[in-house]
């Protein structure tokens, strides 16, 4: 049982929805980013999605692209991202961390070495955007064997024929991408999302969390209401990009978390 499994069991027992927050590791710089990440649990965040910066984030819109660039320009690396997680774990041993990014930095380091280091750093799960089930032997299966959750994205183009394949080696939770498109672009609609969540839940015994296009407390409430929880990324990252202080960013995160938790 990973921290992710434990967290969702706890939320289910309490009848609460999950609030997941995404921030880019090292944005705008290592120290500020660490301060923000450390404050997330206190702001009501149940699961932290930690972005691993990459030069070519092909599923991300401008907001997260720029966050990655700020981090890289500030010297962020995969190693420093793991260091940040390690530092965080000194202050928090229960909040799950999901590392989210693209495959090349991981492949470049070597999968076996990466998994060992990620586990040691207190990472609990992985979302790797450019690894569909067709490439499961690359990282998904080794990650599960190493005791990390591999969280898959399901999307509006994942039809019934394909869904079992997508769910097959998924663990922790399923991340339903509410729109066809990139992060931060369009708005999710609860009415469109509800039947999709039901479809996935009927095929898998896993929590379904919905993200992409959730940007206000009201939206967080509406989307969390038709799923097991919701993710907010771009809206938070945008505040960081505007130079808001960690306290201001965390105050905003709290409004989102309260929205999701009121569902």
């Amino acid at each position: 049982m990973t921290r992710i499994d434990a967290k969702f069991a706890e939320l289910a027992a309490a009848g609460r929805k999950a609030f997941v927050a995404y921030v880019m590791a090292g944005d705008p710089d290592y120290e500020t980013s660490l301060e923000i990440v450390k404050g997330l649990p206190g702001a009501g965040v149940d699961v932290i999605e930690l972005g691993l910066p990459f030069t070519d984030p092909m599923a991300d819109g401008p907001t997260i692209q720029l966050a990655g660039q700020r981090a890289l320009d500030g010297g962020m690396t995969l190693q420093k991202t793991l260091d940040l997680a390690t530092e965080f774990r000194k202050t928090d041993t229960t909040t799950p961390i999901v590392l989210m990014g693209y495959y090349n930095p991981i492949y470049s380091r070597g999968v076996a070495r990466f998994l060992e280091d990620a586990k040691a750093a207190g990472i609990d799960g992985l979302i790797v955007v450019d690894l569909p089930p067709e490439e499961d032997s690359e990282l998904c299966i080794p990650a599960q064997e190493a005791g990390l959750n591999f969280i898959r994205l399901a999307t509006p183009t994942t039809d019934d024929r394909r869904l079992p394949k997508v769910l097959q080696n998924t663990s922790g939770f399923v991340y339903y991408v509410s729109i066809t498109g990139i992060t931060g672009a369009a708005e999710a609609e609860a009415a469109d999302v509800a039947p999709e969540v039901a479809r996935i839940k009927s095929a898998a015994n896993l929590p379904v969390i919905v993200g992409f296009g959730v940007n206000t407390p009201e939206k967080a409430k509406a989307i969390a209401g038709v799923a097991d929880g919701t993710v907010v990324g771009s809206a938070i990252v945008k505040q960081i990009g505007e130079g808001k202080s960690p306290a201001e960013v965390l105050a905003f995160v709290k409004t989102l978390a309260d929205g999701a938790h009121s569902a």
Binding site: M58, P62, Y102, P132, E134, T158
Partner: protein
């Protein structure tokens, strides 16, 4: 060798889109169903005689195929060694090999009922070819082009606009070809129902590398036939040479010769200012290492952390930090050899071609020619080289003028 299927070099990719360890389908889940649909449609079209009949008709009457195989006599004499033939794909409609592939993909898009075509472009040649064929079939066309390339390839930007395409200058990342490809992929993820992504080279997720190769293989098939017509039944070239950006004109020439072991195969990458630690080049094979980008595993220019580096070359068509996965495989198994040529060497070859043969070449094939100039003098007179003259230089005269210190300002 060609009869022995197990030892053939022409069987790739496997059902997972792999050439050895290279290739694959490293895309987001949203795109996965789309590339599976495309693969199914392509597999179907490949064996459909009516599909190829339509291609042949357009190749003949619209593109002007077959392109000539031309014995470059004065060049051969000047270099004093190997006999040099140029495969004249620069004579195609739109001035480069790019249209061979675009026609195939647009016919597929029509079969799939797609009404909106997107493409990425570097030098603008693939963008122009795509805009052209879209105009021919009345399809909406959107071309993503790095903001930096929009500047240095202004004539092609105007051509695309004349042809009715929308050109989107890409400022994300560093605003270059790889970023244009990222933005095209972002467009595709967003517009999944009506949009077809027409990739301009043998890269991207499976089935693109194989499909683009198959459409470009007309170059090698023709050359093989034409050489026999000129040099006698059964005569194969001794060496074939092509420039490599993503590697499509090269794969097109190489593929039909892969199982002819006597044929030396040489790919020429852009060495920019020189293949060194400063990475001011685009030589993915000679200066990179395997990684995953844009849907496939291949050799890439990257730093120690797996972050992708920008390529550098005088030629906008070559500065892509990756290379088609089949080239990575041919490199690793040793079936093809890959070398690099600097900007300065390419510029010299460009001028040599103009004055020796009355052909203004594009800067991309000028790289291939520069390597021909290096090796031809040392080779015997009965050694036959075929070089792919994959594009004409009209688009490059401004860049070359600048490099040679010539003032092109026009006044009216």
């Amino acid at each position: 060798m060609a009869d022995d299927l197990f030892n053939s070099f022409m069987n790739g990719p496997d059902e997972n889109g792999r050439f050895g360890d290279f290739g694959g389908r490293f895309v987001s889940e949203t795109l996965m169903p789309l590339i599976l649909d495309l693969e199914a449609e392509y597999e179907n079209a490949k064996t459909d005689a009516s599909f190829w009949a339509e291609m042949d008709d357009l190749w003949t009457h619209y593109v002007g195929r077959p392109s000539p195989l031309y014995y470059a006599e004065r060049m051969t004499e000047a270099l004093g060694g190997a006999k040099i033939y140029l495969k004249r794909d620069e004579l195609n409609h739109t001035g480069a090999h790019k249209i061979n592939n675009v026609l195939g993909q647009i016919l597929l898009a029509r079969r799939m009922g797609k009404t909106r075509i997107i493409a990425e472009t570097g030098a603008g040649q693939h963008g122009v070819a795509t805009a052209t064929v879209c105009a021919r079939f009345g399809l909406k066309c959107v071309v993503y082009m790095g903001a930096h390339d929009v500047e240095r390839q202004a004539p092609n930007v105007f051509r695309m606009r004349l042809l009715g395409a929308e050109v989107v200058p890409v400022t994300s990342g560093r605003g270059t070809l790889k970023d244009a490809m990222n933005d095209a992929l972002r467009d595709w993820v967003t517009n999944v129902r009506d949009t077809f992504y027409c990739i301009g080279t043998v890269a991207g997720p499976h089935p693109y590398p194989a499909m683009v190769r198959d459409f470009q293989a007309i170059i090698g098939k023709e050359a093989k036939q034409q050489l026999q017509e000129q040099e006698g039944e059964g005569r194969l070239p001794d060496t074939i040479i092509a420039a490599i950006g993503g590697g499509s004109n090269a794969m097109g020439l190489f593929y039909p010769f892969l199982d002819d072991p006597s044929v030396n195969i040489i790919g020429v990458e852009a060495g920019g200012k020189g293949v060194n630690e400063k990475m001011e080049h685009c030589a993915s094979l000679t200066g990179g290492r395997p990684g995953v980008l844009h849907g496939n595993r291949t050799y890439l220019l990257q730093d120690d952390d797996g972050q992708i580096l920008e390529g550098f070359s005088i030629s906008a068509g070559l500065d892509y930090p990756g290379i088609g996965p089949e080239h990575s495989w041919l490199h690793d198994i040793g079936r093809a050899k890959y070398v690099s040529i600097t900007d300065a060497e390419a510029l010299e070859a460009f001028q040599f071609c103009c004055t020796q043969e009355g052909i203004i070449p594009a800067l991309e094939p000028s790289h291939a020619l520069a390597h021909v100039m290096k090796i031809a003098p040392e080779l015997p007179k009965d050694h036959i080289i075929i070089m792919n003259m994959c594009g004409r230089g009209d688009k490059d005269i401004f860049t070359v003028a600048r490099a040679l210190g010539f003032d092109m300002e026009t006044k009216d």
